[in-house]
Amino acid sequence: MAEYKGILVCGELADGKLASITTELLGCGRKLANELKENLSCLLASDAVGGAPKEAIAFGADKVYAVEHPALKEYQADSYMQVVGKLVKDISPRVILIGQTSMGRDLAPRLAFRLGASVTTDCLDLRIDPGTKLLVQTRPVYGGNAQAVFTSESMPQMVTVRTKAMSPLERDASRKGEVIPTKIDIDTSKVRTKILETVKEEAVGIKLEDAPVIVSGGRGMGGPQPFQTILKALADLLHGAVGASRPPADNGWVPEGLHIGLTGKIVAPDIYIAIAISGASQHTAGCSGSKHIIAINKDPEANIFREAEFGVVGKYEEVVPALTNKLKELLAG
């Protein structure tokens, strides 16, 4: 049996640049690699990788495998699998880190299957057991009501990691590393899906996933209007974005893209302000990774107060406009 060594990050590009999830995986991978005293590698596969390999080194990689092929312009399982499968066979890493992204969610289970390995998806915490050198993997289950810890009996040990769960290293352009241009043949006859078009939907204002502050409304908002007025005014003031729990999305008060929760988006801003949201676990599963949660709800028994570090018991129609005005006054100095 081959010796499994080192950490491999399956990198992603976004608009031709190193994606932020990849910098986060590199930050986490660096830590694990140091604990193991082994190497951190990163795979970047695209039609053109540009300056991304150098960036990956600046963010912590020791080695970057750069694979360029026209069939890799956009992610497709059938073409990417050939590249990742071949590289993993060649370098036999001990641990493979993949982002919990639309690409990673698709790639990871297939890769695991082909390698006969297990994969733990959506991990929030990873560490190395100093005794066994195994990767100890923590992920939420039951909508975040419980956390499960896993190890894998099979090699390589594969995980996908939730966006923003890990911190990137400080970018250091003087870091040394090796870019290895790698030629991998892709059998395009095995690519059974054909991409017809890729459409980017630009959110107006700050994207929910990138917003440092999210002002989110629930069923208690009563209709679409307050999202566009009361919540938006507060969000704009805090340079944040407006979100919602499931009922407003179900009722068509807000677009589905604003739906935060188990079946919607999972966000982790610095500050999450939950307004008139009861805090069903459906919803808290999508925001429990936030650094700070502030809740405003008229029901002192609302479940959201269990999750929040700071809660205001009151009617949002009174509290939120007053809060916005006070903040405006302050900012006007």
Binding site: Q76, A77, S102, R105, D106, P109, R110, A112, F113, G116, S118, T121, D122, V136, V141, Y142, G143, G144, N145, A146, Q147, A148, F150, S152, R192, K194, I195, E197, T198, V199, E201, E202, E209, V213, E256, T263, D270, I271, A280, S281, Q282, H292, I293, I294, F305, R306, E307, A308, E309, F310, G311, V312, V313, G314, V319, A322, L323, K326, L327, L330
Partner: protein, 266 residues
């Protein structure tokens, strides 16, 4: 023509009752007594898609689930929604399966059932949410698969154009049948059973298979076939500093502003 359609479903605890799920700290087992069970929400979307395809092209919709005896309830509900046949894979030998062992079990059952033109799965479940079984089953069957499916259009009887959700937009993908699709919430609104359709359930076929019935090798299923090792399940403790304010709006606003300042929001 008639299409053979398979829909994979899972019975899960009702998400509104997740907070009632208790953990036996000693054994790490999950106690979900009294927690109502439902069909995983996205699996209902998967079934709805299957039923619509059948209505358009004619064919047969089979629903399949691996689970304990009570999972038959979920299959009966699927039959009441309009599926033609239910298959329950139920055996202690299946217990403790991770996603790989689950995909294996489904694979052996599918092999026994024969050819399918379309297999639908929900994109993920609400309880464990790994989103792995669909892609892994497709790997085993060696058929094309797309995750995050928001829309399906038939170009002709053998060709699909599907819309796949991406982080900031979507992708349109063309593929040929047979194929496996993992669907998302927005794809449709699942129908409700009617009185008539509920009454028809008793006449429909329900098959219960054990491991030996599908010829699944013992080492590829259940706990034995699972490379994932659960080291423990813990209750999620929220370690947040808690302060709940009642009182006058003015006072509340002042304190909230102070907290936002402290957190660096302004």
């Amino acid at each position: 023509m008639g299409l053979e359609i398979l829909v994979c479903i899972k019975q899960v605890p009702h998400p509104d009752h997740f907070s009632e799920i208790r953990l036996d700290v000693g054994s790490g087992h999950i106690i979900r007594e009294g927690v109502p069970a439902i069909i995983n929400p996205l699996d209902r979307n998967a079934l709805e898609e299957g039923l619509r395809v059948k209505e358009r092209f004619s064919g047969k919709v089979t629903v399949i689930s691996m689970g304990p005896p009570q999972a038959q309830k979920a299959l009966e509900e699927a039959l009441a929604m309009g599926a033609d046949r239910g298959i329950l894979l139920c055996d202690v030998a299946f217990a403790g399966a991770d996603t790989l062992a689950t995909a294996n079990t489904l694979f052996y059952a599918v092999r026994k059932l024969g050819k399918f033109d379309l297999i639908y799965c929900g994109n993920e479940t609400v309880d464990s949410g790994t989103a792995q079984v669909g892609p892994q089953l497709a790997e085993l069957l060696d058929i094309p698969q797309v995750s995050g499916v928001q829309e399906v259009a038939f170009v002709d009887e053998k060709t699909l154009e599907v819309r796949r959700a991406l982080e900031h937009g979507y992708m349109k993908v063309r593929l040929k049948l047979p194929a496996l699709l993992c669907v998302t919430r927005g794809i449709n609104r699942p129908r409700l059973p009617t009185v008539q359709s509920i009454m028809e359930v008793a006449q429909k076929e329900m098959i219960i298979w054990k491991a030996k019935d599908i010829g699944a090798p013992p080492e590829s299923i259940g706990l034995k076939g699972s490379p994932t090792c659960a080291a423990g399940v813990y209750e999620h403790k929220v370690g947040r500093r808690r302060e709940i304010m009642q009182g006058s709006t003015e006072e509340q606003v002042q304190r909230t502003v102070a907290r936002l300042k402290e957190l660096g929001a302004i």
